[in-house]
Symmetry: C2
Subunit: 337 residues, 2 copies
């Protein structure tokens, strides 16, 4: 009783109707007499018919599948985002094909082409930087593309983000307002726009606004990982003029920073204050709990997918460049006011 290989034609014969009618029933087309509909439905149940989505995709040119390109799904940040995407996708009856790019230009381009070959109805892209080649490919895409937690560049794609510049400003400002005149800034590679153009800019603006100079050596670049945060802070601690306030580009780095400080025998927040970024689950899994910029990853994914469905349904779109609100979640890595 393998429910396999029973086709719409078999159902049609079983129900003594044409396959067109079966198709209408399956697709909920209203132009079917109720008695006929029942007859067909019974045949479907009896035969255990399951529509072949591939054939359907070929005939209708819609696959109800969207592609998701992500640097690395094993990264908690992107995993959360992906979950947001998938939940909304499910809500709208889409499935997602997921691919990891490792932020490699070649893999991104290759993945994109594979997905287009599979006739996905749309694509959600995440990546640190939009290489030119990739943008060229994007321009040629026959299906809509939405960026999630990824800044546009040279081509005006729909995108969902927070205001990274302002967020970095807020975090830095908060530390300055706590009486620090030097703020350490430990973040990811500047090639990635979010760091190089946004967080860095916000950091500097906050310094300037408060009349503080920018010291090159107060900024250390890592690669987002715990280890790189730990290492960066260790390096910073070696200096006599080590900043007593640190803004870390990700929570994971912030944990490394805190541990480096503690390993050196200092206290957070008494000796050092630390602010992270993203508010991943990690933020509460450390003592002291981490004060951090809330970037709603799940929501970014969910909104990006919703935006994509709107585009796919040709619904009216008020704003294709969505900026979600951010805030700072105050926890114990910052002293009480």
């Amino acid at each position: 009783m393998n429910s396999n290989n029973v086709t719409i034609y078999d159902v049609a014969r079983e129900a003594s109707v044409s396959m067109a009618t079966v198709s209408r029933v399956v697709n909920g087309n209203p132009n079917v007499k109720p008695t006929t509909r029942k007859k067909v439905q019974d045949a479907i149940d009896r035969l255990g018919y399951r529509p072949n989505a591939v054939a359907r995709g070929l005939a209708s040119k819609k696959t109800t599948t969207v592609g998701v390109i992500v640097p690395d799904i094993s990264n908690i940040f992107f995993a959360d985002l992906a979950r947001g995407i998938e939940d909304v996708a499910t809500m709208y009856k889409y499935n997602i094909i997921l691919g990891n790019s490792d932020s490699s230009r070649d893999k991104e381009v290759h993945l994109l082409n594979t997905l287009l070959g599979k006739q996905v109805d749309g694509i959600i892209f995440m990546g640190g930087r939009l290489h030119e080649d990739l943008v060229e490919e994007f321009k040629k895409s026959p299906v809509p593309i939405v960026l999630a937690a990824t800044l546009n560049q040279g081509y005006d794609l729909p995108a969902v983000n927070i205001d990274y510049e302002q967020a970095a400003y807020d975090a830095t400002k908060m530390l300055i307002d706590h009486g620090h005149d030097r703020i350490g800034f430990i973040t990811g590679p500047l090639e990635q726009q979010i760091n190089g153009e946004k967080k860095f800019a916000g950091y500097r603006r906050a310094l300037e606004d408060s009349g503080l100079p920018f010291h090159e050596q107060d900024m250390i670049l890592g690669n987002y990982t715990y280890a790189s945060g730990l290492e960066a802070m260790q390096k910073m601690l070696e200096r006599d003029d080590c900043p007593k306030a640190i803004f870390a580009g990700t929570d994971e780095m912030a944990l490394g920073v805190i541990h480096a400080i503690q390993d050196a025998g200092y206290s957070v927040p008494d000796d050092f204050e630390v602010v992270g970024h993203d508010n991943t689950r990690l933020a509460t899994m450390i003592r002291p709990k981490l004060t951090t910029v809330v970037q709603p990853m799940y929501d970014i994914g969910a909104v990006a997918m919703r935006l994509l469905t709107k585009i796919l349904n040709s619904e009216e779109i008020e704003e294709k460049n969505v900026v979600l609100p951010h805030r700072i979640e105050r926890r114990d890595s910052l002293r009480q006011d």
Copy 2:
């Protein structure tokens, strides 16, 4: 110059050959004269032809796509597993359709049917427990299914796991060998086989082997999260006869356990010793660093996918029930010997 909607037929005309020949070239079939192959390849490049995988899937009944059913991709554990799957999938030119089940029977069944409707070539399933209905569906599946980090039940599917019973035994035994006669056991719901049948059994066997009695109250069930680990340990600490050694079912719970202990003013490992399970990245993101059972998530995913490719290629399979090795990574949450 939209590379879209140029079909194999267009290429055939452009190259003055039949579409069958183009098909051969695209698929690397050797029965094509080199000059013809070149001619066709040129036409392909000139036109920017990209084969339509949907049409191909319909004609060949292969989609080079596999379905992956996972409880929750935002869980670091499954995210790692998924990454292993995807890497190997890419290696063998497959793509993956990813779906979250939240371990709900209904979602699992629904997802499975959706995937089968999409004509995936195979499925990798992860889930805490195989409900009967689901097993029934599995039996009817026209494509192979492989379990990853999921125990078989009532139907002999290919599966990739570690020896959870033995791992729990090893962890418990290690704590006993450190001089403890009561071992706290904090894990997830017993309905999930891995806990109820394996880890629990290993824990008890270790106790028995050492002539220790099993105390009901030394076991607390949570839901895998940090918060539930924290809470469980807090509850345990209220007791006078609180065990001084804890085996936690996941690293995340172990972190909660450690923090609960520290919050109460005790030291790990001086006052309490803790062993976790999984060796997720979290294990090194805490002080003291966590001693934990190494479950190679990435490898489990990778091996599961590799196993699936073997089945799909009808390669010979030495053992369809793969048990990967585990070990305990000793870190600072355990006292030096």
